[in-house]
Symmetry: C2
Subunit: 350 residues, 2 copies
């Protein structure tokens, strides 16, 4: 029986050579056909394709990589502070977007989880080791060691979210994809103004994340004269939003609107508002940010919020990197940052 018995070695995969022989052509011709078939006459190409099919030929990636000097893989770095990413729908969507785009470009996604401070070393070596053609990283905090790593590895990298340090040490622009946080915040606050609200508070995120500071900046763009008491700092968690809301209520009992820097905090704030007997949106109008999937539409009332296309951002990150690879290979410039638009989604909370 030709059935491989449990103890037999795996069958050796057919090589270009084998295909060439079967098709009665040279290896070079097969190679051309396999790689798009440019410059090969139809009948020949057909014969080759048939031979490939018959033999079940699959190109050997290592051999190809050895000569092309491309791995066809990119690393996605997920740093320690973000280990929870997988529980965060935000990241999961972004990864999904990245995966979609990479897949479409026949590029592999190598997941690099940073699992502790000691891991940065390992990741750095890996990146420098030429295992991947480029990297994607999420730059959440200003003191992240990742940027230095990829810089040292001289590896093309695109960041998700505007990095805290805007330019590299050598003045090169750092490529990143980010939502228009500032513009979205402006839209939210303007909307509240348009509703006739006069005492508009803000619950901000942690000041070491640009998404938080950018949204705060947007708030200030519209309300440059807002009293400092109207701004409370949270940590992007529901709990922290609740605490911030309590402080705000204490400091400014007369507030009539709140713009929270994300939906989670908005949800926390909503709970406190209701518990304190303030009706939303009648007494206090509430706007969030992100339009995060279950949260924003399942609160009571559902949240008016600023939507950003997270999956699209992921796709964009991958696309930017892949485009940049070809260019940088030729010594071209790194790709420019991309800011994706946001839209205000009206629901019942404002």
């Amino acid at each position: 029986m030709p059935e491989p018995s449990p103890g037999s070695r795996p069958a050796p995969r057919p090589t270009l050579e084998a295909v060439a022989e079967r098709a009665g052509v040279s290896r070079a011709t097969v190679s051309r056909v396999v790689n798009g078939g440019a410059g090969v006459r139809r009948p020949l190409a057909e014969r080759v394709r048939r031979a490939v099919e018959d033999l079940g030929y699959v190109p050997n990636h290592a051999a190809r990589s050895l000569v092309t000097r491309r791995t066809g893989a990119v690393g996605v770095i997920i740093a320690e502070p973000e280990v929870r990413i997988f529980s965060d729908p935000f990241f999961s969507q972004q990864i999904r977007g990245i995966s979609r785009e990479l897949t479409a470009q026949d590029t592999q996604l190598v997941l690099l989880l940073v699992d502790g401070p000691g891991d940065y070393d390992r990741i750095g070596r890996y990146l420098a080791g030429g295992h991947v053609d480029g990297a994607l990283a999420f730059s959440l905090h200003t003191d992240d060691p990742i940027p230095a790593l990829v810089r040292r590895a001289a590896l093309p990298t695109v960041f998700g979210g505007r990095p805290g340090w805007t330019a590299g040490a050598d003045g090169q622009a750092v490529p990143y994809v980010d939502a228009d946080n500032r513009g979205g915040a402006r839209a939210a606050v303007r909307y509240l103004c348009g509703l006739g609200r006069r005492r508009i508070a803000h619950i901000g995120g942690p000041p070491d994340q640009t998404s938080a500071t950018d949204r705060l900046d947007g708030y200030r763009d519209v309300l440059p004269d807002a009293e400092p008491e109207l701004v409370a700092e949270g940590a992007f968690t529901e709990e922290s939003g609740a605490r911030a809301m309590e402080r705000l209520l204490l400091r400014c009992p007369d507030l009539d609107a709140v713009f929270a820097a994300n939906d989670l905090m908005a949800s926390g704030a909503l709970g406190v508002l209701k518990a304190r007997g303030r009706s939303v949106p009648d007494d206090v109008a509430l706007v969030g940010f992100d339009d995060i999937d279950p949260v924003a539409r399942t609160t009571d009332p559902p949240l008016t919020t600023v939507r950003q296309d997270v999956e699209g951002q992921g796709r964009l990150m991958a696309r930017l990197l892949l485009r940049g690879l070809d260019r940088q290979r030729e010594g071209g410039p790194a790709p420019e940052p991309v800011i994706t638009p946001t839209t205000l989604v009206r629901r019942a909370s404002a």
Copy 2:
């Protein structure tokens, strides 16, 4: 200035050859040193190591892979029905465990997200393409196409969770890692019995997942004569647990205990019980399964539940695969399944 100007090509990486020349030895010797240095005299090895250091030599992975026929990477397949995995703490922990183990073994994690039925084809080609040495897959449903793929690709694979089909088409055992679902369920139900409960109901998971059927089997092991009315089917979601609880209450108003096949459903059931005025644990004792992180300890009352070490399972999957790789390479047998123990965690709900 030796600083690479923005328009310069990336510096070519030093090769074995360069190191050999600098150290005044042959390529073979350098190779030996780089790969552990067995059989090379101290002083020589030292000289080589210094040269490696000086030149910043990093082995070319493609070249090595070409000759060793190992890629040093494994694919982690995540199928469409589980796209939410990233929001599921269960999977995120498992991935973390996998990542930890692979990292420790210097093996890369290539993430393969199946993004639709059409993707199975692509994944199949990829797996057959020799890009990875093995695969890790989660076999949630009985009709999953993944098993067929890896089988066709003749790729060593370890499953997370017992697959629905216990043996391969050729009678080979399928390697997997799973919690002792049946034993854990038995422990839970026995515990309820020990509490003096006499009408113990069960909320089961979807019957096409072995984790659900195994837990049901465990329940039946202890209560072989339980009336069918005491068993309701859920879908492992909080909502489905609530619905199942409602049905149970209708059919068996006199029940005094519930064993739910996971914590999410237990949480849903808890809500219904409280809404119906049944106090937990006084009127109805409740036990869950998984000890899922925020859920089990934050319900009111906190859940008594069956804990499984999910991260450990992930690590085990990776370890099993890597060990199996070496063996199977020599035509050895696939690794045996591993069942990890569960422990009953007593909290306030039972």
